[in-house]
Amino acid sequence: MSSNLIGYLIGLPLFGAAALLLGGRRTNKWGHISATALSASSFALGLKLFNDMLALPTEERAMHQKLFSWIHVGGFQVDAGLLLDQLSICFVLLITGVGTLIHIYSIAYMSHDHDRRRFFAYLNLFISAMLLLVLGDSYLNLYVGWEGVGLASYLLIGFWNQKPAYATAAKKAFVMNRIGDMGLSFAIMISFVTFGAISFDSIKEAAPQASTAALTAIGIMLLVAATGKSAQFPLQAWLGDAMAGPTPVSALIHAATMVTAGVYLITRSNFIFDLAPNAQTAVAAIGAITLLFGALVGTAKDDIKKALAASTMSQIGYMILGAGLGPAGYAFAIMHLLTHGFFKAGMFLGAGSVMHGMNDEVNMRKYGALRKFMPITAITFGLGYLAIIGVPPFAGFYSKDKLIEVALNAGGIKGYLFGGAALLGAAITAFYMSRVVILTFFSQKRWDDNAHPHESPILMWLPMAILAIGSVASGFLFTSGDALKNWLEPVVASHGEGEHAELLPPMTVSVIALTLVAIGVGYAIFKYRAESNPNTPENVSIFTRIARRDLMQDAFNEAVFMRPGQVLTKSLVSIDENVIDGAVGGVGSAAVGSGQLLRKLQTGFVRSYAALMLLGVALLLLAIWVVTQ
């Protein structure tokens, strides 16, 4: 029965990670090959399971596998169980597919690094943790995977931990993720208190009987968790710093998979959000804020990886916005997630290729006219670019436009706000992505003579090419005949329950969107077409300065959280040293001091001893007198 094979999806890469980490340097020669092979076999297994699922009737497509009985404490029973349904299989294929391509890419990209084996071990660890996240059948199993990807992200961001700045970036990512993890913990706790169980199936059944307050609380906590993992406002500051890791890491974790875990969580918890409209509105609002935030930050970044990171933040904002719009939006959020996985990973790999050719230079001001020297990279990157800005018939057009439609159709003031934000975001996205492409591949050559741009080896451009094909074709595949929407319907009930009336016909929406995109692209071409300044301009407007500083988010975090936190820590340390240690030490010195005092009694004179005895007798008699009063 194919449900018995679900566990192997997780087990194969986990075994790979364990073998490489425990085997140590002995495995250096073949470590990367085995890791890639195990990841590919996971992908093959995922394809097989997908095939089996297609053959089953719709009601039976959700496969369960119980690995072992995990927690059995009184009324709290959690099994280590896996659930493979229509939603999970999408993620499984995305993770293993894009993951395997990135493994192949990394063989060439990390070929000069003598810690390559460790890198592949961490990559496999990440794949297995992410698979556990999407395959878990209860919130607690999901949490294990959640923590696992957090760990893998920390290990991979700080991979080159010889540089203190990179290690600090890894720490920052981990700490901000932790805040989100607390949200997930609280959500699990509230669920247990409200429902008595934490598996998806049991909560789905029991949700309609719970109070709206409890459901809203759970929803808000899940939203906090999602903002932490998916780098949404207000926990988004770590994503830019996470670019300190090697480029394949940025491509896999911080573009395609880990940061989408928040979207998965919200979509999986649709039965809670659908019954808690306030929480759902909060989700949509956070998504809308973040998509604008990321877009604005992306316009001012000169580091190509940071610009792409800001773009990721913004695109995930779109997905969260979609997931916050109820049953109408879940399917399109997932669709955008899948297409984003293709084109963003492809663009990151392309950026890696450019960096590889330009001696690891990340500043776009030092690029320029690279299309002549790296044609394959330019073409694959360009296809991804067209997909992200939403040009038909590429993938982004279908997913993003549908999201804008659903936003506008949300009804009332919400519709205007969210729809307007989505449209504005589209325009800004077009602008800054065009800026990236023009500065890198077009405009004037701005690099100095000791850079020798060259095309990357085949192991690097082949995955980029495959992902580019995905960017081109996937959108069309998902939308034709509402394929994805119908596929996901049993899970997210996306059959349009409570669908509002259309604000604008879809064609109008598409035309408006494309017009805005054209304006953005045009402005970027106009501004950067002939750019020849290799240095970052200093006298820029105040808005550019604010955007360069991530819209002051880091400054805000430091002032409001970090410095008071440091003050608190320092005061606690000083209390520990002075008050507590002082008390303990004080006891010691008091003992010594009283000893010094008492020493003075030892005069050696018999008479003084006799006098003390007399005093004692007098006190004794006093006591007797007092007692017999």
């Binding site: 005069t603 007399l614 005093l615 007098a618 006093l622 007797i624």
Partner: protein, 266 residues
């Protein structure tokens, strides 16, 4: 807190008179013992206190104890004290300046406290019955009654205390005993030393005090045949005390001046 109202019985008037005379004197003597400089004076005052205590015992129907107090305490113990005082220094004076800071104050405060508290506590104590007096207990005579008690109920304590007495005597002997460092010289050796010494002038022994002088007290040195004082006859202790007298006081000439008889031998 009652001093006199607590009526446990009244004594007869003679006893009261005796008490009111002797008690203040005894207390004054005790205070004096504290204050006087010379140790011998303290000893004398102490003896007086012992005697008055003996009177108190006899007044309270304890004649045996009273006599024992005189014989043992005033007789033996105080004599022992005086002997030791003689050994240590009869004239030793003690300055009344206190060397250890704060002792006088502590002692006086503590003792005032003790005294006052004792008197208060005794005053508050109730006996619950009138004083019986010892007429019935002394029915067969005090000594006989004490003897009966001593040899029947308290015989074990009696035996132990006697062992203690013996031990004390042995202990005193051991402590006061001084070990000879050199072996005792026999008479033969002494004689050899006398005749084989530096000169024969001392071979016949030295003249005793008074042989060439007219006074044979220890505090006057003996005279040699030529009239000069013999250094060896001067007592070291008396010399240290400055009690040695000049032998010329007792020369014939002065006595002749005194009595008017010149050269007359007595």
């Amino acid at each position: 807190m009652n001093f006199v109202l607590e009526n446990i019985g009244k004594t007869a008037t003679p006893e009261a008179v005796q008490f009111y005379i002797m008690a203040p004197l005894a207390i004054a003597a005790a205070l004096g013992m504290l204050i006087v400089k010379k140790a011998v004076h303290s000893a004398i005052l102490m003896a007086y206190v012992m005697l008055s205590l003996a009177f108190f015992y006899i007044a309270q129907d304890a004649p045996f104890l009273g006599i024992v107090q005189i014989v043992v305490y005033t007789g033996a113990v105080m004599m022992l004290f005086l002997f030791i005082l003689m050994l240590v220094g009869v004239d030793s004076k003690e300055s009344l300046v206190e060397t250890i800071k704060g002792i006088r104050f502590t002692a006086i405060t503590a003792s005032l406290g003790i005294g006052v508290l004792l008197i208060v506590l005794i005053g508050k104590a109730t006996f619950g019955f009138p004083a019986n007096g010892l007429e019935s207990a002394n029915a067969g005579g005090n000594v006989q009654e004490i003897a009966y008690k001593l040899f029947s109920t308290y015989v074990w304590a009696f035996e132990v205390v006697s062992a203690l007495l013996i031990t004390a005597a042995l202990g005193a002997m051991v402590l006061a005993h001084s070990q000879r460092v050199t072996p005792r010289a026999t008479q033969r050796e002494l004689a050899i030393r006398r005749f084989r010494g530096k000169s024969l002038s001392d071979a016949a022994g030295k003249p005793a005090p008074g042989v060439f002088a007219r006074y044979n007290g220890v505090d006057v040195p003996a005279l040699l045949p030529d009239g000069s004082p013999a250094v060896e006859s001067i007592n070291e202790t008396l010399k240290a005390r400055g009690s040695v007298r000049d032998p010329r006081e007792f020369s014939l000439k002065e006595i002749a001046d005194f009595s008017g008889n010149e050269g007359e031998m007595r």
